[in-house]
Amino acid sequence: MTFTRRDFIKNMALKSAAVAAATMFPGISFSGWNPADLSADSIVWSKTPCRFCGTGCGLLVGVSGEKAVAVKGDPNSSVNKGLCCVKGYHSIQILYGKDRFVTAYVRKDGNLVPTPIQEALDLVAARMKSSIEKNGKNSVAIYGSGQWSIPDGYTASKFFKGCIGTNNVEANARLCMASAVTGCLTTFGLDEPMGCYEDIDNADVFVTWGNNMAEMHPVLFSRMLANKKSKTHVQIIDLTTRFTRSSQAADKSILFNPQSDLAIANAICYEIIKNNEVNQEFISSHVSFHKGKTNIGYGTEDHFAFSDTAESVDFEAYKTFLKDYTPEAAEKISGVPAADIKYLASLYGDPDKKVTSFWTMGMNQHTRGTWINNLVYNIHLLTGKICEPGNSPFSLTGQPSACGTVREVGTMTHKLPHGVVTEEADRKMAAKIWDVPESNIDPKPTYHTVEMFRALDRGEITFMWIQVTNPMVTMPNLRRYRDGAKKEGRFIVVSEIYPTPTSDVADVILPSALWVEREGFFGNSERRTQHNAQLVPKPGEAMCNTWQLIQVARRMGFEKQFPWTQETYIEDIWNEYIRFHDSPKHRMAPYKLLKERSGVQWPFVDGKETRWRYNGKYDPACGSNTFDFYGKPDHRAWIWLRPYEPAAESPDKEYPFWLNTGRVLEHWHTGSMTRRIPILHKAVPESYVEIHPEDAKLLGVVNESKVNIISKRGSVVMKACINGRGNPPRGMVFVPFFDENYLINEVTLDAFCPISKQPDYKKCAVRLEKA
């Protein structure tokens, strides 16, 4: 029997409708037809993590011959239990866009010319060498992403930090979750959430902090709704600066002024203390209090430097600090009625309610991102609602391996796979495992992402290799960095799958193998590592990013450090990498087990996954059966005194609107993949600017009228969307950034959190003109 891709799609269509019908009418039957009969003998199903967001849904990809033809949710994955979102269901189509790069390109006389990949790799190695010889090792840089598979990031770190000896290694995760990292490190001493997705099934109350999960993490949101549906008392409270689809589904939606979450979080703590709802036993045994610097700046100037200090204080000092944050005082800053703040405090303070807080970009893309992470942890620590099922402060990630590759491998300038470059013991460990002289590893961090692109503009960096990311769409204050990349004397290598504005500025384009065209690992938001096998052939001369790096490293003389064969290099890299984490605090699962299972959580100790860290009931790294925040020298979690400070740029007379940017359900990040999936593209074919109806009326615009959005840095003209899926309050506009035809980041500001160095894409000042 011949079974075409089209037959398969039709079968999927019928099955989808049958599933929908069965959901609405349990027990439904179809005369003479059983949906289970639609199986196709020629399809081979294999597990893989989804390619898109940080939820880490398990998928089953169906392959017929040499082509991926279908996707379904993996019922064995505890993450999504067989469910997918609209992007996941259509994900295999990202493999088959008509304009895939299947050969390398080299810029000659201004034009990108098809070139054999081995010749292109020779050129990349030669230009790296010449840049180092001429301008020093810190003139070369690599910029990757949370879409890097773990072996990609690990190889990049080993090559650049261990072999070349530069800490010019950064990833776009700096733009999306660096504040979550520094929030974890400053409060707990170790990175990544202590809880897991089982918290969703156990919580009584969910508070989402600036987090539109219905669109950004739809599978997790559906798990929240399922919990709510099964238990009548479960509540979802949506704290937001803009009314979204998540707001629609919440029990209560509370709108707050941008940046004022700092005041709200402090006011919640004030109220908890005032109402004697502090968990005194937990506080006295497991928490210490600390104060950092204030008025810490915004990083908008080149060479901005900041280093925080931690001064120990006591609970009394903390209470005194909070006196500035009565609910009434916080109301003046936030616009949130004091009664609502008291209500939030009552939910967190109720000892009979388990509370999970979720956040992503709203808190992380924030010029005080580290602080607001600290402050939400404060609430959970004050009440002792942490590290147990349902009681969980939980930072979600936006990319499939922001945790696995960037946070765990440490593909940021200051990091190593274990620890930081500034620590001698960590450098020694890395040098030993990497088989390089310890002196190779520079003890001084170089550039974080924004400063790295500034260095490229200034000419300190002359060679940059960009893999799996699209900074010429995503960098804030974009025009400066695009112009910088195009300056004479810069050499840009881009490893990509499709043409993007970033490949437009490339001197060399290396065609990358994508997702199930190569073997790899992703690590999701709940410390779950997931392996994917190569399921389909690579197109043309496309090459795995890891192998590209190995090829160039070997050309530069580092054969000894990269000795692996093409047959086993991913397994060999995994076995080398996990030596960095060989302790009960972070032990990773072995390769064989990861190949078998739909993901394994770390720490993986004595054959068991650790669901909740820092709680001796669940975490073998704790010395006893109680809480142990072993990441800190005092074995306590730190409550931080962090004040409200205003945004870097706020609306004024000339620029009277806040500009907020973000995503939509159908498109992922810059849309370079999802815009090539016809049904997703058709669903949201172009970006738009959401405007409040009264602001639109004053401006004289209606739906689809063209509006010019102007900031001090640039402008973009796009269509208005009034009463769409999201509704900003008066004085704010919202723009999804997925559409490269409307480069909203030419308008945004490159201010960042001085601790995490993560830019704030949620707040800058603009004016609107009818175009």
């Binding site: 089209r6 799609i9 039709k10 999927m12 269509a13 019928l14 989808s16 409708a17 049958a18 599933v19 929908a20 019908a21 609405m24 009418f25 027990g27 439904i28 039957s29 179809f30 005369s31 037809w33 016809p678 049904i679 058709k682």
Partner: protein
């Protein structure tokens, strides 16, 4: 070549009529439920224009109460 699937709900007591109406239309395949007032409708049209015309024609059926899309694909 768009492929869509829908749940088609008939007006009260018009399930048989809806089955007959849809069965008579080009590009349509149906799977009626044996025990509920709903049927699965699969459309497989040659192009977007034909798809639009078909959907418009289906929506105009007097026997149809509502149509709920379950799956969509366009090449």
């Amino acid at each position: 070549m768009p492929i869509f699937s829908f749940l088609a709900f008939p007006k009260t007591d018009m399930k048989d009529r809806l089955i007959a109406d849809l069965s008579a239309m080009a590009y349509c395949e149906i799977k009626p439920s044996g025990n509920k007032d709903v049927l699965i409708l699969l459309t497989d049209t040659p192009d977007e224009e034909a798809n639009k015309n078909l959907i418009d024609a289906i929506k105009a059926l007097n026997s149809l109460q509502s149509l709920s899309m379950a799956f969509g694909h366009t090449d």
